[in-house]
Amino acid sequence: MIISVEKTAKELKVKTPDLITRPVGRLMYSSTVDKLAVIGAGEVVILDFAGIKVIDSSFIDEYVVRLIHDSCKRDFYLKLRNISAISEINIDSVFNSYSNYKDRRIVITREDIGRNNRFYIGPLSENESDILDYLRINQGTTLDDIVNFTGADSLKVKKSVEELMFMRVLKKNNGEFTAV
């Protein structure tokens, strides 16, 4: 499913191109959750931010972070599209703070390459980043393939892959892994 964030904002009569403040985040979240009522298990939901310039930390906390939590509970995957540079910076800052203060990390994948030269936003290790990049190109890969690619200890790789799956940036189908 593709959700146009700008269109959702317009439906709610929220002024664009900037989506700021907690109340706006809450309003957008509740409308997006309604739209997600029809999605199936394991589906990828693309949040398309075309037409949106700035999303601030309050909005990110109420909208993106809450949707990430929901994706774990309801078994779907999130992906961002058309994220502006400043929005990427703000998301990264929120995710880093979150990960420093909570005992879990949050990360989200994106369609287009970001300022970090990666296809995700959030605090991943170099090793995890490499696995994610490898799986973006080599869809449907086994754990052995990933071990061979990284050259790292298989237990370590398995742990990284499990972490990436827990963060909902990696999918497993019939024993094969693909990046979201």
Partner: protein, 297 residues
């Protein structure tokens, strides 16, 4: 101060920057204790931080005394400037001398290198509307306000800064505040200054329930709030920290004053291996939190 009869208090020309404005704050006691007009005749220049702090001072006087401070002998150019910035819209001061309409600055495109003083309410719903309107106006005027720094990312950075700081007013200060922005020339420099200030509970009271956050002086707490994602209301916060990161990226200057303490970060000096963070404590008490962010070229 004027003669022994205290017919009026002469305000010195100390409205040029946040540090010099401390002189005006040190006059709060005589200003508040003597019910007499303030003679503004010596003021040659007024920048946005001093203007908004003075407005807060007037509002404090009105709240404490139930009457308005009277400003007299406003030089015409200062009167024109204050009227253009909507300083008198808050109706905090008595201004017996009326500025002739012909002398008022015209509100045309070329005089729009500024955001007029806007009150940021302390109620979430109203505040969200005001912040959204301020940001829409800023986007419209940004090519003029940020003429010397102009690119799309600078505008987006400032949208984030305005949004974060204005939200802090209704989330933490328990009072309304004011914001304004202006580009002006000082000597050979062009300065863009954004000011967002309130006279609320201030940073120390705001963090009073967080016993886990250790600091010895107010300026230390300001630095902590600026450099680490702490929050007085939630487990952690992002706003002020993100603002600080942006000011650093833009190589600007951020000045934060709260209660009796202040902190200045000169990110324009950071690369030169010189000291760039300056803490001050034991200043004249001035309630709330006052923030100035400047870029210079």
């Amino acid at each position: 101060m004027s003669g022994s009869a205290h017919k009026h208090i002469v305000m010195p020309d100390r409205f040029r920057d946040p540090y010099i404005f401390e002189n005006i704050l040190s006059m709060q006691e005589p200003v508040f204790s003597k019910e007499c007009p303030l003679d503004m005749s010596r003021i040659a220049f007024m920048e946005p931080y001093s203007m908004i702090s003075f407005l807060l001072m007037g509002r404090n006087y009105l709240r404490n005394r139930g009457s308005k401070l009277t400003l007299i002998n406003l030089p015409v150019h200062i009167h024109q400037y204050l009227a253009r910035m909507d300083f008198f819209e808050s109706a905090v001061f008595n201004i017996p001398e009326v500025l002739d309409t012909n002398l008022m600055f015209r509100r045309n495109k070329s005089s729009s290198r500024l955001l007029e003083i806007t009150e940021i309410p302390n109620k979430e719903r109203q505040s969200v509307k005001v912040i959204s309107a301020v940001i829409a106006l800023f986007r419209k005027r940004a090519p003029l306000i940020l003429k010397y720094w102009m690119n799309d990312s600078v505008v987006d950075y400032f949208v984030t800064v305005i949004s974060e700081l204005c939200q802090n007013i209704f989330e933490h200060s328990l009072d309304s505040g004011y914001m304004a922005m202006q580009t002006y020339r000082s000597g050979n420099e062009n300065i863009a200054r954004l000011v967002i200030s309130d006279s609320g509970i201030g940073i120390i009271k705001s963090f009073s329930s967080r016993n886990d956050i250790k600091y010895t002086e107010g300026s230390e707490l300001i630095e902590l709030a600026l450099t680490t994602p702490i929050s007085s209301k939630r487990e952690f916060g992002y706003g002020l920290c993100q603002v600080n990161n942006i000011v650093e990226k833009l190589k600007g200057v951020i000045y934060i004053r709260s209660g009796e303490s202040s902190l200045t970060a000169f990110y324009n000096r950071k690369d030169k291996n010189s000291k760039y963070l300056f803490q001050r404590n034991g200043l004249i008490r001035f309630d709330g939190m006052q923030i100035s962010i400047s870029l210079s070229s």
